[in-house]
Symmetry: C2
Subunit: 320 residues, 2 copies
């Protein structure tokens, strides 16, 4: 094969990760650049293409790269644009025709979507969803993202922004305030930040002894995990509550697209059975009878350090 | 064209409607048979094929029919089976390989799905969703059904049963008991029966004067509509409540598939602005900012008496 590799680029607010990947999903080489040191997108893209070209020398040069996949906040697959991504200094309130700018600079086809959709394609190409045509990817990180695959294709919707399941409603009345301006979003309960909020709320309103009590102000989902592993009852209850919320929402997602599986990725997914068991129980309790105990619930099979690059790179294999 | 027509068959618990349709969506001829007079499915299919063959004589004979589309409760598009449809006497707890049985009898290809999915295909082929690739059909009848179209194709999911949006959760805690065994399903609030339940509940717990008060035991959504048209305040509030519930759920559906439009069909949709305005307000209040005032909310454009036949018939054009 003349062009045996693809490149994957994952754009975060501070750091951009990139790597070169072969058809088996091996990350052959990877590097990072800063995202936030350029206020002008053209300067950023120059930096990005320079770094990519340098990195490509390790695998025989940039001409070995068949395509580039980019995962970016507010990435629109249809237009190849990054639309008003407030966390990216060079986007802000603007729409950046990112794929076009990058293609003009480097001469290799570029596909772009948001990070959760990229994760779904990565899982389908190299990970836990290989061979699956219908599944839902849920990324449990700072926020809750999702990538929905139906008939083997990511659902982008009419405008390119489908799959915002973190902003479906978990609590209808008096729900927690969300950054998006709404209240009660699933994300406010089940993201890493949501789990921290639960912990602080519960510590305030209960007197139970807990390892978490000393950490009160700075508590993170990792602290809750570590306490739970040590047998802390409050921490275990926080996972049960978080899993219950996820399971309730998952049951509604299943009613929508009847997936074969729901694939979990991200920090919270590392809690293993502590989070999986309560999700499973709650999901099955809330599913219609025909789906009870039939929907697989699995963790991502991609190594965390490679997952963002793999996900983005997988998009590039689909470029025509 | 040698075979210029398709047949559409809509199987209900008591009555089966069928008709022959041309490519413009004109129902050239139609008839009905009883569904519930045969306990054996083979007898029913014999009756059905006889009626269809007789009817076809009016358009030049059965050889003018290119394909047959069937809308049936629990119809599985992938397998062509009707699976445990308790409302059909000849199905009950059994799985009936309906498309296969009918094809063996009549020699014309048969496609089968449930009635809400058929309605979605009908709307896409002949109605309000012509030209749309991404929309959600909501049927507001005795129950609440849905057909989801993504990239121009109905979503059937992994098992053939995707699109049960009437059984997503509208009220998470202390919700109304649903026939499906769960509580709080959207259907329990917004189906014709749900609207009747709301009316009876509200009449019981309020002393407000209302035209509905005399009808208390037998009240239907049609009664609520007629009272609302006459200016009855309670009846108008019932529509506002029903619309609010639908709008809240629609906002979550949009977060899933980012459709261009939501298309409403069924008895309740006839209430026009009485139901449309509160749905619109509630949906926009609950949508993420990027979707506010951008999702079309439209009524079916198919004549009610023809809609079920048209929907089923539209499936047949897609037969390979």
């Amino acid at each position: 094969m003349e062009k045996p590799y693809v490149a994957g680029i994952d754009i975060g607010g501070q750091t951009t990760k990139m790597g070169i990947v072969d058809a088996r999903g091996t990350v052959l080489t990877q590097t990072t650049i800063r995202t936030d040191t350029h206020s002008n997108v053209n300067d950023y893209i120059t930096d990005l293409c320079d770094a990519l070209t340098r990195m490509a020398l390790e695998v025989g040069g940039i001409e070995k790269i068949r395509g580039i996949g980019v995962g970016a906040p507010n990435g629109n697959y249809y237009t190849g644009s990054i639309e008003m991504a407030v966390n990216l200094v060079w986007s802000g309130n603007h729409t950046i025709p990112f794929a076009k700018l990058m293609f003009e600079k480097i001469g290799i086809p570029v596909a772009l979507t948001n990070d959760a959709n990229a994760a779904a394609v990565g899982e389908m190409t190299y990970g836990a969803a290989r061979g699956m045509k219908n599944f839902i990817m849920i990324t449990l990180g700072t926020g809750v993202g999702s990538g929905i695959v139906i008939n083997g294709e990511v659902v982008y919707g009419h405008d390119g922004f489908a799959g915002e399941l973190g902003h479906t409603t978990s609590v209808r009345n008096n729900g927690r305030q969300c950054n998006c301006g709404r209240t009660g979003c699933l994300e406010t309960y089940t993201s890493a930040i949501g789990v921290g909020r639960t912990a602080r709320e519960w510590l305030e309103f209960s007197c139970d002894k807990s390892l978490l009590r000393d950490l009160k102000e700075t508590i993170t989902s990792r602290d809750v995990y570590e306490a739970a592993v040590q047998g802390d009852e409050l921490a275990k209850k926080i996972f049960e509550f978080t899993g219950k919320k996820l399971g309730e929402s998952f049951a509604d997602f299943v009613a929508f697209s009847a997936p074969e599986a729901i694939v979990l990725f991200g920090g919270l997914a590392k809690a293993g059975d502590l989070i999986l068991k309560p999700i499973e129980e709650s999901m099955n309790a809330n599913l219609l009878n025909m789906w009870k105990n039939k929907i697989k619930l699995v963790f991502s099979q991609l190594k965390e350090s490679d997952a963002a690059i793999l996900g983005a790179s997988a998009l590039a294999w689909e470029l025509k």
